[in-house]
Symmetry: C2
Subunit: 343 residues, 2 copies
């Protein structure tokens, strides 16, 4: 079968551009013993992918030039030679930006999905998938948030940040979000329930802005961006404050020139805990998180923010838009069908 793929055409210089990606045509492989062939339905666009585009190893192998972009997807099993999976199953896993992928027991993040009928399938790529689970696990397991505490969240209109904002509010915290745009500031205060929003692009001195929004100090900082926002937040933390190290997207576009952090002394002075985490270390916490998030989504207490781009050929453009900070909520690519394809 024809298998369209989006491959890496050039290593991005800073923010990825649409022309760093290329659509090519290949042929889908036959699943061997222990493998399954899956039809990708939604791709989850994630900041972590940026780290794989520079041709240098980080916690995953780099994507070579000409290689298909690696990314998590929701997919339907076409044929299975893997125990426990059969044709028609819906799965989640780290696949590639292509029509058809091979998946096996070693596929990172592989799980079988049992989507509820009343929930859009795309939600399992975002708010009810990795983004929601990351927000939930980070706030509870890493940040140990308590009702009445003040929680600062960066990239608060993003996929993970928008979930963290709402979860922390539901847990009885005061929530202040840092965002890059007035539309995002309005969104998180008016729709997501944040107590205040700081637009880092227009607020002037960020430390002063955080102190103004949080005169009682910050107990927990959910860090999605690192760099200058992390540095400013360190100056505003209360004694025994916790920093949840979830992502450092601020530096993903230029990993050779990370933003310096000057206020590490606060670690000792304020007896802070900075703890980084990756969701796949906490998979045992996901079922409870998922159950609670489903409940909140059904009750309307949590809004899932999605930005869905239609069609595999547009995946590179969609990723570029996300990585330049132009989007709100979870970024997804909804796969278009090939000509004559019926699922």
């Amino acid at each position: 079968m024809l298998n369209r793929q989006v491959v890496l055409k050039s290593h991005p210089n800073g923010v990825p551009l649409p022309e760093d990606f290329e659509l090519v045509e290949a042929t889908s492989a036959e699943p061997g013993e222990g493998q399954m062939l899956v039809r990708n339905l939604f791709f989850s666009l994630e900041a972590a992918i940026r780290g794989w585009l520079d041709g240098k190893a980080n916690y995953f192998e780099p994507i070579p030039l000409g290689g298909a972009i690696r990314g998590p997807s929701v997919a339907r099993v076409i044929t299975s030679r893997l125990d426990g999976f059969e044709a028609g199953d819906l799965i989640f896993g780290l696949h590639h930006w292509e029509d058809y992928s091979l998946s096996d027991a070693n596929t990172i993040l592989l799980s079988k999905l049992s989507p509820e009928e009343d929930i859009p399938l795309s939600y399992y790529c975002g708010g009810l998938g990795g983004s929601g689970h990351t927000a939930f696990v980070g706030l509870h397991e890493i940040g140990n948030i308590q009702a009445g505490e003040t929680v600062l969240i960066s990239a608060a209109a993003g996929a993970t940040g928008s979930m963290a904002t709402q979860i922390a509010k539901l847990r009885g915290c005061k929530v202040v979000g840092v965002v890059g745009g007035e539309n995002k500031a309005d969104l998180i205060t008016q729709k997501l329930g944040a107590d205040a929003a700081i637009n880092y692009k227009t607020c002037g001195d960020l430390t002063a802005a955080i102190n103004e929004a949080c005169p009682e100090g910050v107990d927990v900082y959910f860090d999605n961006v690192g760099g200058k926002t992390l540095d400013a937040s360190l100056q505003c933390m209360n004694t025994f404050g916790r920093v949840i190290g979830c992502g450092m997207i601020g530096d993903y576009n230029d990993q050779d020139n990370p933003t310096p952090v000057f206020n590490m002394w606060k670690l000792v002075e304020k007896e802070l805990t900075l703890k980084g985490f990756l969701l796949y270390t906490y998979m045992d916490k996901v079922p409870a998180a998922s159950a609670q998030l489903h409940e909140w989504v059904r009750s309307g207490e949590i809004h899932i923010l999605e930005n869905i781009t239609e069609g595999l050929p547009n995946a590179g453009w969609a990723y570029s838009e996300m990585m330049r900070g132009a989007t709100i909520g979870k970024n997804l690519v909804a796969m278009d069908l090939q000509e004559g394809e019926h699922l």
Copy 2:
């Protein structure tokens, strides 16, 4: 009674100089209700004092120009109007660099000492006092060291570092110390049992030197210095590694220009925990620490390194020597008696 004091003559510019301090003569105060008059015997010279010399508040009030230098001491009670203390008692507490201090229930770190007869009293200012307790609590409560792990320790020939080096070895860890001098490198490997020493002044690229000494990676980094050593260590940490934030002496001499840290991304990538602490938060852990440290000192398994300067008039010089990194082990000032004084 005549009360000699060492006061702050000028705010140091970088490393404190002897002439930033001045010996003056005052009169000792009479203890009021709830107070006691104590005769200082040993002063513990500590890096934290540097933070109080710039005229800016940090976690303690700054010392004003002309004000007596604040510092912890071992002292003997002369007269007491405080319940639970009587003349002749030996105490530890945060006093001032002077012959006689007033102490009360609010004195920071106040505790009654019951020194063992076979142990030098000075040890209770260092290895069997705050430095030893800090090393012990840091390694166990913050770093959670386990036998077989690799522990990196900065300022490993210093008061806290020399204790941490020996404790971690006794707990079955591999220990690599970072020091500033060949004499210190020889000391920690030949006398304290460190498996390797890195002289940061001559090793060239510090990250490469740590990787060479710890090809298996660093599980726990006991950070006494912050700055460039912290930055380099972040690049060498194993997944789930812990950084014990004990001190950041590297920046104490120039707090307005902290050393930037560039590798905070490792927090997420390696799922690290960076946790700062101050001993006084963990006073409930001190009795057990003290008992174990006494046992090790008696058995000869731990060596207490001391650098004792005689006489209050030399306190400023001694502090300057310590803060320029010229000394080894715990720095103390042994108080000289006033003319005609008998204790």
